[in-house]
Symmetry: C2
Subunit: 249 residues, 2 copies
């Protein structure tokens, strides 16, 4: 018997959601429940979806990966089209694929790439405002370019974990961390790693911006990593600048 496990690649505008995960008492719906309700309409029975990881409230995805087990043969259903008719325009199924039963969107993930967008223009970004952090302050691109590579490699990222979180192992490997200038006043921080702690990318961005502002060096990043102390890092950059670009398996 062939597998009934379906892998979806989703993009979403996270602005009007409380994040991937269902939340009790949230004033906004979650991406997860919106998708599960849509799949229930297709299958007439509740469906449980598992994503490659949570995304924060207001954070976006270009290539979030989700899997679920279909209660009947999924091979004759075009999920891209079927979900398009049910989901709001802010959640789009980019592709669907039947995968072996041992594929797991969370546990099989090998790496992820995130992008964080910063607009430095003096006036508010009208069209990109849902998808960037507006930072109309002195911005030293060269300083950031110098800081980012210090994050690469296998490190204990406890200093960049969200306050109050507790995971047993905070060691992660960052394969690549780069600042890119996309347009005169638009910058991207792009980071690929084997895993990320809660709000880690936003903390990495906030800390780099703070270090840039304080003219601190690459060596200070290394010392902050060694400190393993969240209270020494700076603020988490706002959620709306962040996009989960891709998950690797």
């Amino acid at each position: 018997m062939s597998s009934n496990r379906v892998k979806l690649i989703l993009s979403y505008d996270g602005t009007d959601y409380c994040g991937w995960q269902k939340q009790t008492n949230a004033s906004k719906p979650s991406i997860q429940e919106t998708l599960e309700v849509a799949l229930e309409k297709i299958f007439k029975t509740p469906i449980k979806c598992i994503a490659s990881g949570r995304t924060d409230s207001g954070t976006h995805a270009q290539g979030q990966v989700v899997h679920f087990d279909a209660p009947k043969d999924p091979s004759r259903i075009n999920f891209v089209r079927a979900l398009e008719g049910i989901l709001p325009g802010s959640i789009v199924t980019q592709s669907s694929e039947i995968v072996p039963k041992d594929f797991h969107s969370l546990l099989s993930a090998k790496a992820k790439t995130y992008r964080y967008r910063i607009s430095t223009q003096s006036t508010g970004p009208t069209f990109l405002r849902r998808f960037c952090y507006w930072y109309p302050y002195p911005f030293d691109f060269k300083a950031l370019q110098d800081l980012a590579p210090a994050l690469e490699g296998r490190h204990d990222f406890k200093s960049f974990e969200s306050v109050g979180t507790q995971v047993p192992n905070t060691v992660r490997t960052i394969y690549r961390a780069r600042w890119i200038q996309k347009k005169p006043h638009l910058y991207y921080f792009e980071v690929t790693g084997n895993g990320f702690l809660k709000q880690m990318v936003r903390n990495l961005v906030g800390t780099q911006l703070y270090f840039m502002q304080k003219k601190r060096s690459r060596q200070d990043i290394i010392e902050l990593l060694q400190a393993r102390d969240r209270t020494q890092a700076a603020y988490a950059a706002p959620a709306q600048g962040l996009v989960l670009l891709r998950v690797y398996y």
Copy 2:
């Protein structure tokens, strides 16, 4: 005595507005009333704003030009910053300038440039969905490139006027009309002219798409112009694809 007339350049995301103009019975606010309420907060007295032209409900602007007469010396007010604190993020003042009393945003306008965005990707555009027309159908860029130049020049555009509208003179000059491929599945129609009839740009786009689909030629555009009959043109392309880029004085 120096002038009290202020010229503002505004950009706005028109999605959540009923257009530039105040509408009675509209379910959404207008850009105009939102701006006038903000200026009233600054001056403590009602202010009347005049734009270079109306934009339709759902249509956007990158460089809409507006003027108003300040009830007191405007030279000490930084309107960009003052309005930033009052207006929602969907309306941004890009610049302000005190202009001579004979400047008039509508009557002094010499030309305007509009851009119309079309996404032809097979799945819905998640991040650009508020700012483009999603057209996941056969798309012949070369055919469109061939059609557009037939619109250039001084013509009677009555065939491209919105049904039911009556303006005495429907002759306008289009200086430039071009299709541009911006990305693999993203196209722009850009048009500059000395003036545009109601929904004219949307009608130009809808008609070109229809002619492309029907494999009609540049000659058919010329005949449609000569017919001076709106019922022979095709549908108006949806409002959300349109952006008023710039007004020339």
